[in-house]
């Protein structure tokens, strides 16, 4: 039972960290809980659909369907997170100024919320479908201990959700002045880490060369199988033995989003006359 709890916990953890960060990053935007719950619900339904279609997905693209599917899902999430961060560099200050009131520009707010709904949905779908397949296998085995293992699965799920909640609650304690800078930084790392994981799947599918692997080996320090390794993997795509291609993806996405944020932030400042003088530079 404990083993089952641990496996489910590990699968849920990554999605829980992502949801925790995204939930915090949307602080102050009107109607965000509806979107977060919507993302979770879509993700859970999606998990069942993907788990049910696992065999069909595997057979696509000469047996590389699963890798390409995972890479695409991660790619979508990277684009969405990039968009959110660039949006934030334009609207973050307004949000910080109005945090107590309802988010200023509701129409624009709804847009970033729907972008993050997609991020939550795909994160839950990716990790959730693996959990569903695992539990399906347990149920199918007809083992006498199957019921205890299901209970373990529930415990693991609860544990993962608790960690996501703790991260969310912890982030909310950051003073509002630094809050959006902190969440933007976490979202930036998240996006770069997901890009690096997408690269790993594309290497696994033999679509991309690895460009020297591993470039370094820190598994003695923090192994990917350890809890710390799992958390770092969830937060920033940590890999103890990264391939050159993964590092390239990480750096390029990190720099590209950062430049986008600086550029959008600068363009928005002179034309900020639409918003009253609450934004001081």
């Amino acid at each position: 039972m404990f083993g089952t709890a641990l496996i489910v916990f590990r699968e849920v953890l990554e999605a829980a960290l992502i949801v925790g960060i995204v939930a915090a990053a949307t602080r102050g935007i009107a109607g965000r809980s509806r979107f977060i719950l919507g993302g979770l619900a879509l993700g859970i339904v999606g998990s069942l659909v993907v788990a049910g279609g696992a065999e069909a997905i595997s057979k696509l693209a000469q047996g590389m369907g699963q890798e390409l599917f995972n890479a695409s899902i991660l790619g979508i999430a990277v684009v969405m997170l990039a968009w959110h961060n660039i949006w934030m560099s334009v609207h973050g200050r307004e949000l910080a100024a109005n945090a107590k009131k309802v988010g200023g520009d509701i129409r624009a707010g709804a847009k970033t919320l729907s972008v993050l709904l997609v991020v939550i949905a795909v994160a839950v779908l990716r990790e959730g479908s693996e959990t569903v397949l695992f539990l399906y296998g347990v149920a199918l085995s007809g083992d006498s201990s199957a019921r205890a293992m299901m209970a373990g699965g529930a415990a693991g799920l609860a544990g993962g959700v608790a960690v996501g909640w703790l991260l969310f609650a912890g982030l909310l304690r950051i003073p509002i002045r630094w809050f959006f800078a902190a969440t933007s930084f976490l979202v930036l790392l998240l996006a770069a880490g997901m890009a690096s994981q997408a690269a790993r799947f594309l290497i696994q599918a033999n679509v991309l060369p690895s460009l020297a692997s591993p470039v370094w080996d820190t598994s003695e320090l923090v192994a990917n199988s350890s809890m710390a390794g799992k958390v770092l993997q969830g937060l920033m795509g940590y890999d103890a033995t990264p391939a050159g291609m993964q590092i390239a993806f990480f750096v390029i996405v990190l720099v590209a989003i950062w430049i986008g944020m600086l550029w959008a932030g600068r363009r928005a400042t002179p034309g900020a006359s639409a918003t009253p003088a609450t934004t001081t530079t």
Partner: protein
């Protein structure tokens, strides 16, 4: 505000296009040596696979069990679900000489193996 919305839209399109280009790069011609592994009774057979070092190789993993299994190895950088009663192709390497452990994550106690690159 208007210009911001346009700017956001343009950015979104550009990012989406870049992702599509990255994903549509076709697979390279496959010419790798193949190695067969079976999963039966939640165990790998053989559980020790010798492969040449410095070369990309192809593992053909056949899951003979009715239950799905996840072939996972942080050292080999592989993570792949193999549905029950099906075969999966996994590319690994090029590897430096050494031993690389892998497990069936859904049955970690019994499903263990090692790839030995020589």
């Amino acid at each position: 505000m208007e210009s911001n919305i346009e700017l956001e839209r343009a950015l979104m399109l550009r990012l989406a296009a870049a992702t599509l280009v990255a994903l549509s790069l076709g697979a390279f011609a496959a010419n790798e040596p193949e190695f067969n592994v079976a999963i039966e009774g939640h165990k790998f057979a053989p559980d020790r696979i010798e492969v040449p070092a410095g070369k990309k190789v192809k593992l053909i993993v056949e899951n003979k069990d009715a239950t799905p299994e996840e072939f996972e190895s942080a050292q080999l950088k592989v993570e792949k679900v193999i549905p029950g009663k099906s075969k999966a192709t996994i590319f690994v390497g090029p590897l430096k000489a050494g031993e690389y452990k892998f497990v069936g994550e859904y049955n970690e106690k019994t499903a263990k193996g090692v790839v030995v690159a020589k």
